[in-house]
C-alpha cells in the first residue's frame, strides 16, 4: 500500500478506462457553447474509435465502454459525470440538467470496479468533471457555468486528503478547456489571457511549484497524461493537423511517448481529449 496517492510516482497510473459511445443525437442536440458547423457523425465516430483503440490497444488499458444513450446527446463526455481519485469515485451532479442522467450508467460501471462511491445528492450543487484538475498533489476546481461552490465543497469533502482550491473560469466551458496535466508535475496551459490568468491563480493557491508547458492553442492544452508501466510517460495530445504550433511544443517533450489524436468533430461540441474518458487505477487485489 503506497499510501496517500502513492506519491507522485503513481501519478497518471491507471489500469482501467471508462468511455462511452456516441449517440446519433449528438450531432444536433449536444450542448455547444458556440454555434458552428454540424458534427460529422461518421468522422466523429472514427476519431472516437481511434481514441479508444489507443487506450485499449496501444496502452493496454482495460477499457469499459458504455453504450450510447440517444436520450443523452452528450453522454460521450464521461469525464463530467465522475471524478475518480485513488479508490474513491465522486459521481457528480452535472451543471447541465440535460446531462444528469448520464451519471446512472457511470455509477453502475464504477460500482462494478469496487470503488468507494460518493454521490453528489445536494440539489444546490453542480459539478462537471471537466472543471476538476487533479495534479497528484491537490485539486483545482474551476467555478464555471457548470460548476458551483457547493459542488466544489462536496468534492473537497470527498477527497479529504487533498487541498481543493477554486479557480474562477469565465471565458470557457470548463477549467480543463485550456489546461490539463501533461506530466507528474507539469501543467499544460493555453496561451489565452484567461488561461494564463487561471494558471496564475492556481500557482498562487498552491504550496507547490508546478512546471508549466505553454501551448499556443487553448484547446490543445487539454491532453491526457498517463503513466503506463511498460511505456513510461504517455501523452495523448491533439494532432499536428489540428494544432500544428501546439503539437510542436508537445514534440519537445523528450521523455514522453507522444500519441497525437485528432478530435476535430467532438471539438465542435466543446469536447476535448480528457472529456471522453475516466481513468481508474485499480491496485491489484490483495
Amino acid at each position: 500500500m503506497a499510501g496517500l496517492g502513492g506519491g507522485l510516482a503513481a501519478f497518471g497510473r491507471c489500469t482501467h478506462a471508462v468511455v462511452r459511445a456516441l449517440p446519433e443525437s449528438l450531432c444536433r442536440q449536444a450542448l455547444r457553447s458556440v454555434a458552428g458547423p454540424e458534427v460529422d457523425l461518421a468522422r466523429a465516430e472514427r476519431e472516437h474509435q481511434l481514441y479508444v483503440g489507443v487506450l485499449r490497444g496501444k496502452l493496454g488499458l482495460q477499457v469499459l465502454e458504455l453504450p450510447a444513450d440517444e436520450s443523452l446527446p452528450d453522454c460521450v463526455f464521461v469525464e463530467d459525470v465522475a471524478v475518480v481519485c485513488e479508490e474513491t469515485a465522486l459521481l457528480t451532479r452535472p451543471g447541465a440538467p440535460s446531462r444528469r442522467k448520464e451519471v446512472e450508467a457511470m455509477k453502475r460501471v464504477l460500482e462494478s470496479l469496487n470503488l468507494n462511491i460518493v454521490e453528489m445528492v445536494d440539489e444546490n450543487a453542480t459539478l462537471d468533471g471537466g472543471d476538476v484538475l487533479f495534479t497528484g498533489r491537490e485539486f483545482f476546481v474551476g467555478l464555471s457555468k457548470r460548476t458551483n461552490q457547493r459542488g466544489a465543497e462536496i468534492l473537497a469533502d470527498t477527497f479529504k486528503d487533498y487541498a481543493v482550491s477554486t479557480v474562477p473560469v469565465h471565458d470557457s466551458l470548463h477549467l480543463k478547456s485550456f489546461c490539463s496535466m501533461a506530466g507528474p508535475n507539469l501543467i499544460a496551459i493555453g496561451s489565452s489571457e484567461a488561461a494564463q490568468k487561471a494558471l496564475k491563480t492556481m500557482q498562487q493557491m498552491s504550496d507547490h511549484r508546478y512546471d508549466k508547458l505553454t501551448v499556443p492553442d487553448d484547446a490543445a492544452a487539454n491532453c491526457i497524461y498517463l503513466n503506463i508501466p511498460s511505456k513510461g510517460h504517455v501523452l495523448l495530445h491533439r494532432a499536428p493537423e489540428e494544432y500544428p504550433e501546439s503539437a510542436k511544443v508537445f514534440e519537445k517533450l523528450k521523455d514522453h511517448m507522444l500519441i497525437p489524436i485528432a478530435n476535430t468533430e467532438l471539438e465542435k461540441v466543446d469536447g476535448s481529449l480528457t472529456c471522453c474518458s475516466v481513468f481508474i487505477n485499480k491496485a491489484s487485489e490483495l
Partner: protein, 942 residues
C-alpha cells in the same frame, strides 16, 4: 512609570550624575545629544513666553504635565531629542495626574536650571558630534536613544508604580547588552523594585499541571513569577525531549480559546486564573518530519497527529484513516499476531472521529502488511503519510472576510491559507506578505503586488474578537519567524510609542533548531510508546483528556487516567551532550530569506543612488511615476506607511519636495538598524498584556523593527492632547513638484501648529496617524478619530540632529481665504478641472502666523511618511522647528492621486482633506495646493 512627586528631585539627581558618565562612555550617544541640547537651550530660555497665539493652554493640566515630566528623566533624556522625550514623558504622565499637577511649578524651575547645567555637559559632546560625521555612528546613537526611552517607558505601563527613575540609569547600562540578557535584567530590576515596595514575602509557588501528549499528566511547583520557559524546560526534561522547539504549552481561555504560553514572559501574566493547567502540544509541525533527528521527537509528533486526526482537526479520507491507523497499530503492538490480536483488538483503538467497522477491518488488513516494521519505522511511515495531508500543520482560525462571509484562516509553514468551508479560496505565501497587523478585532495582511499590479493591497479580516485577532497575529508572527527566518527578530524597539504589541517570536527558528539538533549526540533515548487505546469514547469521539474542550473541564477526571504510562527515560537522562560544529545545514527554504534580504539591500542601494525617486519626483510622465512607486514599494517593503525621522542635515528645512532624499536617509539607516540590540524590557512588559489593541509585523525586513503600530487606548490622553494644541494655522504652499501627465491630482496639505516650547512631542502621535492614509485598510472612522493611532513609525533615521542655521524656506503665495474651516470646503469644491495643462492652486489660511514663515528656527526633527493605496500615494513630511521659543510642527502631506477619468478627483481631494483633518483634530489645514494634470500636460514636465 509615574514617578512619584516626592522622589523626583532625587531621581533627577541620580540620573544626572549617571548621565554624563554614560555619555562619555558612549560616543554614539553623545553624538546624538547636541541637537537636542541646543533645542533645549533655546526652548528653556523661552519656555515662558508665549509669543504665539497658539499655545493656549499653558495652564491646562496637560501642558503642565508635559513640562513636568521631562525633568524626571533628565539624565537620560538629554540624549534624546525633545520630541522623543516628550513622547516619553507623555506616556509617563498618563498614570498619575494629580501629583504631577502639583509638581509642575517646581518642576519647571528645576528643569530650567538643569538644562543649563546640561549645557555644560553638552559642549564637549557637541564637538564630538561634529567630528562624527559618520552617519552610522549617529544612527547607532539614535537607536540607543530609543532603547533608553523604551526602557523608561515600558515599566510604567506594566506597573504604574514600580519603576523608579534610578532604574533608568541602570537600564541604560544594560541596554547595550544583548537583547535577551537585557530582558532578564529588566525583570530582575522590576523585582528588586517591588520588594521594597511590597512587604517582602516568601517565594510563592504555584502548582502547574501539564497534560502530555500521551494523555498523562505532569505536575510540578513553580515559582509564581516563573517565566514560561521554566515550565516548558521542565516538561521537556521530563519527556526527555531535546528537539523541543517544535513544541509549546497551551492554555485555555474560556475553555475554548487556546493560547500559546510565551516562554519569555511570566506565566502569571499570561494565565490569569488558577489553576495553571497546560497542554503540551506541537506548535510548529515540521514540514518534513524525516528531518527530525530523534525518534522520540517523531514519536511525540505522531501522538499529536493522532489526536489531531481523532479530533477531526486533521481531516483524512477513509483510506488514509485506515492506513495511518495501521501504522499506529504497528508502532504500538508490533507485528500482527493472529493469536494475540483477536478479531476485536482494533476496536480498542481510535483512529478516526467516526470509526466504522469497515474502517477497523481495513486497518487490520493493512496492519498485516506492515510486518517487520519497527515502531520507529512505523512512526516514520505514519508521518510520511500524514505530512501530505493538506491540513497538516495548518492552524485554523475563524474569521469573516470583508463582506462578512465566514471563512477560516489557516496559518502554516508556508504562509496563510484562506478557506471557505472546505475550499481553499486564497493563499498568501510568506514571501508575498509584506505586513501583518491587527487592530481591535481586525486582522490585516498587506500583500505584495502581483506581477502586473502596481500597488500592494491590504486585506482585512474580521475576527470574532480582539483577542482572537491578536492570537492570530501572534501565530502568524511565530510561524513566519520559525519557518522563514534564520534567526528570530528582535522585538521592536520601543520608540516613542509604546502601546503597540511588541511581541515577537523569541524561540529558536527551525533553522536554528535543526542546527542544534544536528549536534545532539546521545544514544537514542528509550521511551515507551503508550497505547492509544481509548479509555472511553467521549461524545465527540476524541479520547478524554485530549480533546481540546474537555481538557480543562475534565482535568481532574483525566488526571489519573494514564498515570502509569509516563514516559520513562531509562538511560539517557542527563546524558545529552552537544558537540561542537555539527553538520552543515543544508536546507533550501531557509536560504530564501537570505536571498531576499540581499536583494533588498541592493534595491536600497540603487535607490539611494538615484535621487529621482520618491513621489516628489513623480513629475516626468505617468509611466515613470508608476515605476517609481513600484520601486519604492519594493525598496521599502514594510516601510511604506512608515514614519521616518528625517534629519535635515544641511540645515535646510525640507519642504515637501524632498522626498527622494528622505528616502535615502531612510534606507541607509535601515541597513544598519538590524544590528542593534533592541530594547528588550519593552517586550516583557507590554506584550504581556493582552490588551494591546494593535500589533504589526513585517515579515520581510528584520531590520525594520522600528515599526510599531499603536493605538491609544486612553481616552484621557486624547483629550489632553487636544487641549495642548490649540492654535492652528493654515498656510498654503505652491507646490514645487510637477505633476504627472496622467490625469492626476496632487494635493499638499500642510498643517501648522504653534505651541509653546518643549511641547513638541505631542504631535508625534498625531503624525503617526497619517499612516492611516493607507486607504484600503484604515478608513474606518473610529480609527481616524483616535489620536494615538499609529501605524508604522520608523524613527531610526535621524543620524544627527542638526541645528538649522538658516530659516526654513517656505515661501508661499497666498490666496486668501478667510476661515480655515470654510476654506477646506471651498477648496474641495472649487478645484477647477484643467484639461490641458497643469494647474496649481494654492489655498492659504489668512490667519497665518508670521512666525511660521521666514523665521529662523531650529529644526528639531523631520519625518516622512509614505503610504500607498490603490490610487493614491501619500507622502507625509513632518518637520518640527523651534523658532524663537516656539515649537512648530508642520505636517505636509502630499497625496498623489493617480488614475484615469474614473476617479472623482474632487472627491478624492475632499476625502484627503477630510482625512487629514480627522487625523489631526488639533491641527488645522493651513495650505492646500492642488496640482491637477491631464494628459496634455506633458509639455509642462521637465
Amino acid at each position: 512609570m509615574t514617578t512619584e512627586v516626592g522622589s523626583e528631585t532625587e531621581v533627577k539627581k541620580d540620573s544626572e550624575q549617571l548621565g554624563p558618565d554614560k555619555a562619555k562612555d558612549k560616543p554614539e550617544e553623545a553624538s546624538e545629544t547636541p541637537g537636542d541640547q541646543k533645542s533645549r537651550e533655546t526652548s528653556s530660555g523661552e519656555a515662558q513666553d508665549s509669543s504665539v497665539p497658539a499655545p493656549t493652554n499653558q495652564s491646562s493640566p496637560s501642558s503642565q504635565k508635559k513640562e513636568k515630566s521631562s525633568p524626571e528623566s533628565k539624565g537620560i533624556s538629554r540624549f534624546l531629542p525633545p520630541w522623543l522625550k516628550k513622547q516619553k514623558s507623555y506616556t509617563l504622565a498618563e498614570p498619575k495626574d494629580e501629583p504631577k499637577k502639583k509638581a509642575t511649578g517646581e518642576e519647571q524651575v528645576v528643569e530650567e536650571s538643569e538644562s543649563q547645567a546640561l549645557e555644560g555637559v553638552a559642549q564637549p559632546r557637541k564637538s564630538l558630534e561634529e567630528a562624527t560625521e559618520n552617519r552610522q555612528n549617529a544612527k547607532a546613537g539614535d537607536r540607543e536613544k530609543h532603547s533608553i526611552s523604551s526602557a523608561e517607558i515600558q515599566p510604567s505601563k506594566e506597573d504604574g508604580k514600580e519603576t523608579e527613575v534610578e532604574e533608568v540609569a541602570e537600564k541604560k547600562e544594560e541596554k547595550q547588552e544583548e537583547k535577551r540578557e537585557t530582558k532578564e535584567v529588566q525583570t530582575a530590576e522590576i523585582k528588586i523594585d517591588n520588594i521594597p515596595q511590597k512587604s517582602p514575602k516568601k517565594i510563592k509557588t504555584v502548582q502547574c499541571k501539564v497534560m502530555l501528549l500521551d494523555g498523562t499528566e505532569y505536575s510540578c511547583d513553580l515559582e509564581k513569577r516563573a517565566r514560561g520557559q521554566v515550565l516548558f524546560d521542565k516538561v521537556c526534561e521530563h519527556l526527555n525531549l531535546l528537539e523541543k522547539d517544535y513544541f509549546g504549552l497551551l492554555f485555555y481561555e474560556n475553555s475554548e480559546q487556546k493560547n500559546w504560553l510565551d516562554s519569555s514572559k511570566e506565566i502569571k501574566r499570561q494565565i490569569r486564573s488558577l489553576p495553571w493547567i497546560f497542554t503540551f502540544n506541537v506548535k510548529f509541525y515540521p514540514p518534513d518530519p524525516s528531518q527530525l533527528t530523534e525518534d522520540i521527537t517523531r514519536y511525540f509528533l505522531c501522538l499529536q497527529l493522532r489526536q489531531d486526526i481523532v479530533s477531526g482537526r486533521l481531516p483524512c479520507s477513509f483510506v488514509t484513516h485506515a492506513l495511518l491507523g495501521s501504522y499506529t497499530l504497528q508502532a504500538e503492538l508490533g507485528d500482527h499476531d493472529p493469536e494475540e490480536h483477536s478479531s476485536d483488538y482494533i476496536s480498542e483503538f481510535q483512529f478516526a472521529p467516526n470509526q466504522t467497522q469497515e474502517m477497523e477491518e481495513k486497518v487490520a488488513e493493512l496492519h498485516k502488511t506492515h510486518r517487520g516494521l519497527t515502531p520507529a519505522q512505523a512512526d516514520s511511515q505514519f508521518l510520511e503519510n500524514a505530512k501530505r495531508l493538506s491540513m497538516y500543520g495548518v492552524d485554523l482560525h475563524h474569521a469573516k472576510d470583508s463582506e462578512g462571509v465566514d471563512i477560516m484562516l489557516g496559518v502554516c509553514a508556508n504562509g496563510l491559507l484562506i478557506y471557505k468551508d472546505r475550499l481553499r479560496i486564497n493563499r498568501f505565501a510568506w514571501p508575498k506578505i509584506l505586513k501583518i497587523s491587527y487592530k481591535r478585532s481586525n486582522f490585516y495582511i498587506k500583500v505584495r503586488p502581483a506581477e502586473l499590479e502596481q500597488f500592494e493591497s491590504t486585506i482585512g479580516f474580521k475576527l470574532p474578537n480582539h483577542r482572537a485577532a491578536k492570537r492570530l497575529w501572534k501565530v502568524c508572527v511565530e510561524h513566519h519567524t520559525f519557518f522563514r527566518l534564520l534567526s528570530p527578530e528582535q522585538p521592536p524597539k520601543a520608540k516613542f510609542l509604546t502601546l503597540g504589541s511588541k511581541f515577537r517570536y523569541s524561540g529558536r527558528t527551525q533553522a536554528q533548531t535543526r542546527q542544534a539538533s544536528n549536534l545532539i549526540d546521545r544514544p537514542a533515548p528509550y521511551f515507551e510508546r503508550t497505547s492509544s487505546k481509548r479509555v472511553s469514547r467521549s461524545l465527540d469521539g476524541a479520547p478524554m483528556g485530549i480533546s481540546d474542550q474537555s481538557l480543562v473541564r475534565d482535568f481532574s477526571a483525566t488526571g489519573g487516567q494514564a498515570a502509569g504510562d509516563k514516559i520513562i527515560d531509562l538511560e539517557a537522562a542527563g546524558r545529552a551532550k552537544l558537540k561542537e560544529g555539527g553538520r552543515e545545514e543544508d536546507e533550501s527554504p531557509l536560504k530564501t530569506p537570505q536571498l531576499e534580504f540581499t536583494q533588498d539591500g541592493k534595491r536600497h542601494a540603487s535607490r539611494a543612488e538615484g535621487p529621482c525617486t520618491g513621489v516628489s519626483d513623480a513629475d516626468k510622465s505617468s509611466h515613470e511615476t508608476l515605476d517609481i512607486v513600484e520601486e519604492k514599494k519594493q525598496a521599502e517593503f514594510g516601510i511604506e506607511e512608515t514614519l521616518v525621522v528625517d534629519e535635515t542635515n544641511k540645515g535646510k528645512m525640507q519642504v515637501a519636495t524632498d522626498a527622494g532624499e528622505t528616502c535615502k536617509v531612510e534606507h541607509v539607516s535601515k541597513k544598519d538598524s538590524s544590528s542593534l540590540p533592541s530594547d528588550s524590557s519593552s517586550s516583557s512588559s507590554s506584550s504581556e498584556s493582552e490588551d494591546e489593541e494593535v500589533g504589526e509585523y513585517h515579515p520581510h525586513h528584520r531590520a525594520i523593527e522600528e515599526v510599531i503600530r499603536e493605538e491609544q487606548e486612553d481616552e484621557e490622553d486624547m483629550k489632553r492632547k487636544e487641549h495642548e494644541e490649540n492654535t492652528q494655522h493654515v498656510e498654503a504652499i505652491p507646490e514645487g513638484s510637477k505633476p504627472v501627465p496622467v490625469e492626476h491630482t496632487q494635493v499638499t496639505v500642510e498643517d501648522l501648529v504653534h505651541e509653546n516650547t518643549i511641547t513638541v512631542a505631542t504631535e508625534e502621535k498625531n503624525l503617526s496617524e497619517q499612516i492611516k492614509q493607507d486607504v484600503g485598510e484604515e478608513k474606518e472612522e473610529e480609527q481616524l478619530k483616535l489620536n494615538g493611532d499609529v501605524s508604522h513609525v520608523d524613527i531610526d533615521v535621524a543620524p544627527q540632529l542638526i541645528c538649522c542655521s538658516e530659516p526654513p524656506v517656505v515661501k508661499t503665495e497666498m490666496v486668501t481665504i478667510s476661515d480655515a474651516t470654510q476654506r477646506t470646503e471651498i477648496s474641495t469644491k472649487e478645484i477647477p478641472i484643467v484639461q490641458t495643462e497643469t494647474k496649481t492652486i494654492t489655498y492659504e489660511s489668512s490667519q497665518l502666523d508670521g512666525n511660521a514663515v521666514g523665521d529662523t528656527g531650529v529644526l528639531v526633527s523631520a519625518q516622512t511618511i509614505t503610504s500607498e493605496s490603490i490610487s493614491t500615494t501619500t507622502t507625509t513630511h513632518i518637520t518640527k522647528m523651534v523658532k524663537g521659543g516656539v515649537s512648530e510642527t508642520r505636517i505636509e502631506k502630499r497625496i498623489v492621486i493617480t488614475g484615469d477619468a474614473d476617479i472623482d478627483h474632487d472627491e478624492a481631494l475632499a476625502q484627503a482633506i477630510k482625512e487629514a483633518k480627522e487625523q489631526h483634530p488639533d491641527m488645522s489645514v493651513t495650505r492646500v495646493v492642488v496640482h491637477k494634470e491631464t494628459e496634455l500636460a506633458e509639455e509642462d514636465e521637465d
